[in-house]
């Protein structure tokens, strides 16, 4: 519903202000990351890369970041693989009880993270998975699975299985028919599931606070403990690095999207 001229102008001001409220605070870390002093000085007296050196020169930061990357990749692989298997079962083999199974797999999305953390902590103490890499992978896989299953299942439902059956009746093996006919149709969903799973693990703190520790300190956990105990702006450098990566990815995605919507219009 469009407003009158004045209304539209008011709406534009409100809209832009709120979007600025969303975006600008995050960018504050960038000037801070380049200040030579330990607190925010504006205008800054000079530029310095010392906080970036603090990050790259500190073994603990680097190993935390490296752990988070490995963890994210492991979670992306396991949750997408398990999600694919489950999605195949739910679309093609299970009729009765599919509703229940889906509910169970999606439940970690609804249960508050703190409650999941208490439950996972409890079982990990008993089976000895506390502060271990496999323990972190399993915990994050539980959180990522809902997205993997839902994404892949909806892609599988959109696949036309006619050619698949045709390939089978023409003598293709089951595996070959899957690879040649079904896989191309669900590849975007598999990629999306892997990316989502990585990001969920990459940004997860609540479970890690409970089940991670000194030797399994992920980047978010180190940031969390740093924020609680330190005032050095090393975190500004870390946060800025994160912002740079996200900004680059979003810009590329947006430009590609713009090209994709503008090209059909011209022809």
């Amino acid at each position: 519903m469009r407003l009158g001229k004045i209304g539209q102008r008011v709406l534009a001001i409100l809209g832009n202000t709120v979007v600025a409220f969303l975006v600008l605070p995050i960018l504050v870390v960038i000037p801070l990351s380049f200040t030579p002093g330990t607190v925010f000085d504006f205008p800054p007296d000079g530029l310095s890369l010392r906080w970036y050196q603090d990050f790259f020169g500190d073994e603990r930061w680097i190993s935390a970041a490296w752990l988070s990357i490995r963890l994210g990749v492991a979670v992306a692989i396991t949750s997408t693989a398990l999600g694919l298997l489950a999605a195949i079962a739910l679309t093609r083999y299970i009729k009765k009880g599919a509703f229940l199974v889906r509910g169970l797999l999606v439940a970690p999305l609804i249960v508050p993270p703190i409650v999941t953390a208490v439950a996972v902590f409890d079982i990990y103490v008993r089976v000895g998975l506390l502060r271990t890499f496999p323990g972190l992978v399993v915990a994050h896989t539980i959180l990522a699975l809902p997205f993997a299953v839902l994404l892949i299942e909806s892609a599988l439902r959109a696949v036309d299985f006619g050619p698949f059956e045709a390939a089978l009746s023409l003598g293709a093996t089951n595996r070959r028919a899957w690879r040649m006919v079904v896989l191309p149709g669900i590849t975007p969903a598999l990629v999306a599931s892997a990316v989502f799973s990585f990001l969920i693990s990459w940004d997860e703190v609540v479970l890690v606070v409970f089940i991670g520790g000194a030797r399994s300190q992920t980047l978010p956990l180190r940031m969390f403990e740093f924020i609680e105990t330190q005032i050095r702006p090393t975190l500004a450098a870390v946060s800025s690095l994160i912002v740079y990566v996200i900004a680059a990815v979003l810009t590329i995605a947006y430009l590609r999207y713009r090209r994709s919507i503008s090209s059909p219009d011209r022809t």
């Binding site: 975006v23 299970i94 915990a139 006619g162 940031m223 996200i246």
Partner: protein, 292 residues
Amino acid sequence: MSRGGWRRRTRRRPYRDSLVGLALLLPCLVVVLLFFAYPLIGVFVRSVSDPAPGISNYVEIFSSRAFRNILRLTVEVSLLTTVGCLVLGFPVAWYITTLEKRRAQLFLVLSTAPLWVAILARLYAWTVILGRRGLINDSLAAMGLVQEPLDLLFNTRAILIGMIHVMLPFMILVLYSSMSGVDESLVESADSLGARPRQTFVRIYLPLISPGLIAGSLLVLIMSMGFFILPAVLGGGGDITIPIYVQTQIRLFKWGIASAMSMILLIVTLALFALLTKVFDPKSVVVGGSRR
């Protein structure tokens, strides 16, 4: 979509098919049942058995004043966050629906961009802005407006600001998809039949987007109640919400009371979620969004 082929197959070998299905589901089920569902039941059992069997933990929670304060703070902060997100999200979502496609896309990317930035980077930014030697206090002092730095950080208000900042993108997404699904011809026909803009808004537009308003609010409410990291970073010592309390009790190995608190949070969340699925079919978001 032709699924006739495999339907025929399933009819031929239903037993084998459900076996294959189960085998495919097995890895998922093992992980989720063993490391999620089973210990979750364990949390419930602990809540009614530790330290003594019975509902003493729950009685304690609801009868003690300190506990009631924890519950009240959690609900209050979550409700205020929801209202804040509605008030701020509504104009943005509406504004985006009035833009042409390219600019709309840009605004959608900008307003959801914070979601992609690590939560701790966002919270750290707020500590930089609100801290005693932070951006706001520095600027106020430089302008000579304050002598002493204001206490903007480590209190309930800081939690609220952070919560609204973190939740707003979700609200905008839900509201936008609901608003962009509105059939403009309904609005136009109301206009052409002589309705005043306010009438059109209240009688036509608001009812059409009300499922989105309710769904967005419930979504924000549900997520806000479970927030742990945010109040831990931005709140002060007195700002104990349910998740914060649960964590401190686990640290002290007081499993019974922590489990009971977890269960209360879980039950409220599930009740709100049930309400959400009642008023709003998640699929309609997608349909509403793509109709434009």
